[in-house]
Symmetry: D2
Subunit: 335 residues, 4 copies
């Protein structure tokens, strides 16, 4: 049993804490939050230690590993401290919104052997993974094009949007990682287009977009097309498609049940899409904990690590620049 | 937290024990099996008491309720004992293979207020339940026909088949309950047809069938058509369809993921059907525990009880008689 | 070019006339109807001869073959006359509503070599045929069960229903033929159940049913389950499913286009089922003409002939008897 | 009956000739081809006049309208001649591969009242049209994003590719028109990315691509993403998706039948996609003839005309420039 402490007891931290508590090969070593009442609530509910400080977590002998789910600006600091303390890390994305800060963090941790895993949870979705596995197994031959459709059900709260770093760093970042996961080789060029259609006034104020398309290309010419919208009223739309020389594989959307209704004016699914990321990726979040435990047990590096977080941010920076300048941006201009 | 003890530590008992242990509103009070090592294994794994006898379970103050997952011939005895002990019961189907034994058990428990729930787990499947809810909500108007397709992936072991009581009592019993769940009124007539196609020699020896169709009719004329096969090599086929004056609702099959593969010679699902009843109905088994806890917490009778178990067995007896005599059998001839 | 004359210029006759006119290997030799204006209309529209009498058709040198689409009571007479005249026949189903009349017709035509094809059009549907071909090719191994769902969008006019001979002779007759098409061996036993749910008053008056299930069994035990309703408000529901030792094949419903609509409260097909048998089986009706021409060109007997019409009627008679008497009826009791 | 003559008796011209001959409101006035034997073959088969020259067609009193299906370099000339002769025109796309030639043709025909329709056949596909109609009816609210997937089954012959004008002018041109059809407002910016993956050597030699993505944007910010590949071995992949403020509509792929096969190792469609554009768009080609007849009968301009052909070519030119220069190109730079 790997004893994992959770830092950050917001919505995602609490979900991770419950998943760790329920996982057959992990145990919840305790929780911490700068806002003590939040930590107390979940600590009491799950019957675990509430730590007084992050330092107390890092120095505790009863903590084998840490899951970092605090606010984004603290991620890099906590990664550095956990590395110093020798505690394996599962950190929510992103490492930081600032690429220079990420670069400094990379320097600080150097060539540490402490396992660091980044929370790009979609890699652990059974459907997306089955698609990636089909690609790797050669089921579709040589890969040519990947199409990622990724649309949120609706705009997040304004305060969230203001602090998000913009759609490319906040939302598309998941798709940039999915692109790298599917493509199997590094992206060298990014062409992005942004529009303000869902909430034009807010987007203009923030110099942000709510509807974007990014086209990525690798050195060998493989393409990945990402389309994002902040508003898909029919539900959280999460699809991944890959075309190759021998065929196509598609990870389709999921619903809570497979019931269909047929009426004079309607034939279709009676249940809407799983509409909230925690529901949609429930299996993936649990599998992510398992993958973290596996990495530590096996001594192998986690399959998605610090460098993956850095690369996804580089693609976000390239997309921001591309959309702003109306030109294809090479990733070598960024990293 | 409702403290539930599990009697019977075979495959299904162990699954229930794990579900109870993981359920947020239930606790596993201990386990018992006549074969002590089986109880020891799961007791050790889950860190709970292993009882020495069934009597020890029924008399324990630390047991709020019991889940009976022992061999079928012991069900009725344990139900009677648990009622005497005042312990609420969740009992795996069937109550007994013998209708007279079930009738005696009914007399023995009389008008007890001890909650008794029968493990007709399919009622708790999200898809089938959504279909039933659509019917009850009037989404398809007045109900006319129900079609239940229920096919096992393959023949069970010979020893199991020999002791099963025959396909109607063992396999169709689930569909008889599903029919009653969907129809919302009692069945009055049963017409059944049996064939020996999968393993004719074994079926002749046991005077049993491996491929059957049963057509049920209610007093108002509503029909339910059940088709069963012991062998669907494409997977565990579990579908429920209901036709009414305003439309149709269908609970379709489920797969572990929603990935499709498209090749020159193939377009389809890349994943097979969920192929084992414990996987297929995993959500339903967990929901069943929740429904049991709810019934006890609320003081309401469980939504599927002893009488439902008795009625399903009456339909099985009617079907056996119908298939043997080549005629429609009224349930009033049986019960 | 095979010159075919059409007898009967009602809805179906006119459709056949247009199909023959449009067929690349057939020509419309003329039309006839006892109600002269009906024949004049379609004759003028298609620019062909309008015959004064059926006799004029049978004796015409310009007529190579005849398509009989007159009212049912005239079918047997016209078949006998066409045989006498040596004109190959494509006759709409049924041969007659009276089995004795069909038997007399069989005697009258004896061992004629004149090709007689029965209009069981569903055999020519691309989907149903692909399913049958999969069965014959061994794609699903040995056949065990066939399930035919066949529901009309709504009740026909009362006058039609009164003269129809009852649901088994009028509607299920198509499914009896489909059963024989799929099963590939003769049915020996029929168990049928009828209900009065759509229009109980009318059904009682006519001693008919509007909702029926028939279970057919062959000597080797293969089963075919047919379910019919006179009212499926979601559209003309036409499905055929076959289960065998190696898998299942399903011919699904068809829609005019493959467009789906996804909204907050709805995900599904934006187009309803093809709702009228002439639209649903448009391809099949055209293919039927082609099969008739092929049979005559090749000198081979048509793949669906007089005996198929007689056998389907025997199954209808058996089903009527079974539903009335509440017992399984052997076809040997009928034929 | 509108008497239409067909110029050009290649594969597409012959298909159009047969469609006109079969159309209830059109008649085939004759055919012409510079390669006389090609015209003779189809003329004999359909029993129509074979013209000696294009001039003979334009001057014939028996010709109400012309369908131009000759080689691309002759289109603009024939359009000019037909306009001079006052014959309404249905011309296969493109008008010409050279935008300057198209501009000169525009000047030549000036403000002619002679109806000119461009053969962008996909607009007449029932599925794509149902999607467009749903957008126009407001079913998905305000339009935000269109995604067009358009992939050929395999590379055309080398000679065809060499003369095609490149993938953007030859293949994407259909999608540029579909984008305009769906968007309902003009595109102002084009960002395109090209890769050489299917046949890199040929593509390098021709300075062409076989795998491309184009992202179009309108003045109001609406986006259309087109992805093309010359090689989809699973079949001719033709999908159109539109996202709006109230939902999404998708025109899915089509197959020749709706039969599915379910085996131990396979669940899916037993029939491949309709794999050849003439089969896939068979209904659309026939509907196109109907729309041409309707336009002439009603005196309304055809719904897809000369200017649509010119605009699609402008988008192709912008895409070529964008892919070559690695930047977003404004359509105002081209037109």
């Amino acid at each position: 049993m790997l004893k994992i402490a959770v830092l950050g007891c917001g919505r995602i931290g609490c979900m991770h804490a419950e998943n760790i508590a329920a996982h057959p090969r992990a145990a919840l070593a305790g929780v911490f939050d700068v806002h003590r009442p939040a930590a107390d609530d979940i600590g009491r509910k799950l019957g675990v230690t509430v730590f007084d400080s992050a330092e107390a977590v890092f120095s505790s002998r009863d903590v084998d590993a840490v899951l970092i789910a605090t606010s984004t600006p603290t991620h890099a600091d906590f990664i550095e401290k956990a590395v110093t303390a020798g505690k394996p890390i599962l950190c929510e994305k992103p490492i930081d919104l600032s690429l220079p800060r990420v670069q400094r963090c990379a320097v600080a941790i150097g060539t540490t052997k402490v396992p660091i895993m980044l929370g790009f949870v979609r890699r652990f979705d059974p459907g997306h993974r089955a698609a990636r596995d089909a690609v790797q197994a050669g089921d579709i031959g040589d890969l040519h094009q990947v199409v990622i459709t990724s649309r949120d059900p609706g705009m997040p709260p304004v305060a969230y949007t203001e602090a998000s770093g913009g759609i490319f760093r906040d939302m598309t970042i998941h798709d940039f990682d999915m692109a790298r996961f599917m493509l199997g080789e590094e992206v060298t060029e990014v062409s992005a287009v942004g529009s303000r259609l869902v909430d034009p006034a807010l987007m203009r104020r923030l110099n942000d977009y709510d509807t974007v398309t990014a086209v990525l290309k690798t050195a060998s010419g493989k393409q990945c097309i990402i389309n994002n919208s902040r508003q898909a009223v029919y539900g959280y739309d999460q699809r991944v498609e890959a075309l190759g020389t021998k065929g196509m594989v598609v990870s389709e959307n999921r619903r809570p049940n497979m019931t269909t209704l047929h009426r004079a004016d309607f034939t279709g699914k009676s249940a809407p899409l799983l509409n909230f990321f925690i529901d949609r990726y429930a299996e993936a979040f649990m599998a992510e904990i398992g993958a973290f435990v596996d990495a530590i047990d096996s001594g192998q590096p986690p399959e998605v690590g610090f460098e993956d977080g850095r690369q996804a941010l580089i693609l976000a920076e390239a997309a921001i620049k591309s959309a702003a300048e109306g030109r294809t941006v090479k990733t070598s201009e960024i990293g």
